[in-house]
């Protein structure tokens, strides 16, 4: 499979880039991750979960720390476990707590970061984990790409089956329940999927900016979209556009790919916010 992609990439990429296997790997990773983020982001933004996904991203620190305490070499499994547990916990808390969710998430964020850093910084060893903070998409391995490809398929299938229920739940929970949609199940399954995706992608883009990549394309699309179809399609397109341009720009500029991609996404957001406003004005 991957050999086929390498051949194809030779035709697509400019010559100076096509020489490097790592660029081809990174490009394939972006082509797979960007649509996933574009799609999931639409629900993150619609359900006002931006702060939650930020907490989710930072819980990776705790996951890595727990992995080290347990003596596990590859932290992916403990990271996913912690993130999924956090996702379920937040969903349950949302239903029972009287405190503002904003505050609850703030406390969880503090706890996740502090616990992670405390364990990882033991004997001054935090430096070797900074790669997780900014990520390195150019170091992506074919094995990681296979994981992402599997998630790509899972997200697509999930969205085909649960997408409608998610959309209706986000517009009105009571209306969804009146149509016999089990809203708790729908929302929990979505946050679990989100937790897995974020943990698998975090090695590529980093804890500090993963949330921006999740939120910006959908937020951009929301400024101009007038239907569910265009909201989703535009979010995917913007995610891909900023992903690809950001990746190439970071190569030529010698900068961190994740952050460069985010800058392009912010650019798209600014343009959409302006067009959205102009359009609103012309209505009046």
């Amino acid at each position: 499979m991957i050999a086929l992609w390498y051949k194809l990439a030779d035709y697509v990429l400019p010559f100076d880039l096509a020489r490097y296997i790592f660029i081809k790997n990174a490009l394939l990773a972006v082509l797979l991750v960007a649509p996933i983020f574009g799609v999931l982001g639409t629900m993150v933004v619609s359900n006002r979960m931006v702060f939650f996904t930020d907490v989710l991203g930072h819980s990776a620190l705790t996951g890595i720390a727990v992995g080290i305490l347990c003596g596990i070499h590859d932290p992916t499994i403990p990271m996913i476990t912690i993130a999924v547990a956090l996702a379920v916990l937040v969903n349950i808390l949302k239903g029972i707590t009287h405190a503002s969710m904003d505050t609850v998430l703030g406390v969880l964020l503090a706890f996740m970061i502090a616990l992670g850093i405390t364990i990882l910084s033991r004997r001054g060893g935090f430096v070797k984990f900074t790669i997780y903070l900014i990520g390195d998409i150019l170091a992506v391995t074919p094995q990681q790409i296979a994981w992402i490809a599997a998630l790509f398929v899972i997200v697509f299938v999930y969205w085909c089956f649960a997408g409608n229920a998610l959309i209706l739940t986000s517009i009105s929970g009571s209306l969804a329940r009146s149509r016999r949609i089990r809203t708790f199940l729908v929302e929990t399954s979505f946050t679990i999927l989100l937790a897995v995706v974020v943990m698998v992608a975090i090695r590529l883009v980093g804890i500090l900016i993963i949330n921006s990549l999740l939120v910006l394309p959908a937020a951009t699309s929301r400024n101009v979209a007038r239907s569910v179809g265009s909201y989703t399609a535009l979010s995917i397109a913007i995610s891909l556009l900023s992903g690809i341009t950001g990746l190439f720009a970071s190569y030529y500029w010698g900068t961190a790919s994740g952050a460069t991609i985010v800058l392009f996404a912010v650019g798209c957001y600014a343009i959409s916010a302006l067009t959205g406003r102009l359009r609103q004005k012309s209505f009046i």
Partner: protein
């Protein structure tokens, strides 16, 4: 929930529900057609709406004279328009029981009385039971068979004429009922019909 609605004991009735305007995310980038298609089809709406489904949605809407709203974002609808769209969607469930939660919020007096008339004609045509939860006692009283006044528990129950003329109740519910003969609710200035 046990019920006798639909004539079969112990079966849950099919419910058509019209939620409160307040409980809807009106900022959502979703248009009226999408919202109807969510109710009438299992096809994933995010992949786009086929022409066939779009026409079907149009048919559902035009019964409630809301056909021209099909391409509008739900946030662009007036209070009255939104109520008609939500009612159209509730009726796609072919309900035996229609539940309306504060249908008067964001709708002006004239629009509201048109809406109540619409609901009454639905009740007669489709043989359905209708429950309306409202604070608009005065406006609703000419359209309903029974009124149940709730204030933590059932305060009064009966035909509108009896309930609303009871002096004890008048005392408990105070000014909101004294105003019945005067102007019951103020139209919201933003409302356009």
């Amino acid at each position: 929930m046990e019920s006798r609605i639909g004539g079969v004991e112990g079966r849950k009735p099919r419910i058509g529900y019209v939620p409160q305007r307040l409980h809807l995310d009106l900022d959502s980038p979703i248009n009226v057609t999408d919202l109807v298609v969510l109710a009438i089809s299992k096809r994933p709406v995010w992949l786009g709406v086929s022409r066939r489904l779009s026409e079907e949605a149009q048919r559902v809407l035009s019964v409630f004279s809301a056909g021209r709203l099909a391409k509008k974002r739900i946030g662009e609808l007036s209070g009255g328009e939104l109520q008609r769209v939500l009612l159209a969607i509730a009726m796609t469930a072919e309900p035996e029981l229609l539940l309306l939660d504060e249908p008067g919020s964001g709708v002006d007096i004239q629009g509201l009385s048109m809406f109540y008339q619409l609901v009454r004609s639905l009740r007669e045509q489709h043989d359905i039971a209708v429950i309306i939860v409202t604070h608009d006692l005065a406006g609703i009283s000419t359209y309903v068979d029974r009124i149940i006044l709730l204030n933590h528990s059932v305060v009064a129950e009966g035909e509108p004429g009896d309930v609303l003329s009871d002096e004890k109740i008048l005392h408990t519910f105070g000014p909101s009922l004294w105003n019945i003969s005067a102007l019951p609710t103020l139209p919201s200035p933003k409302e356009k019909l």
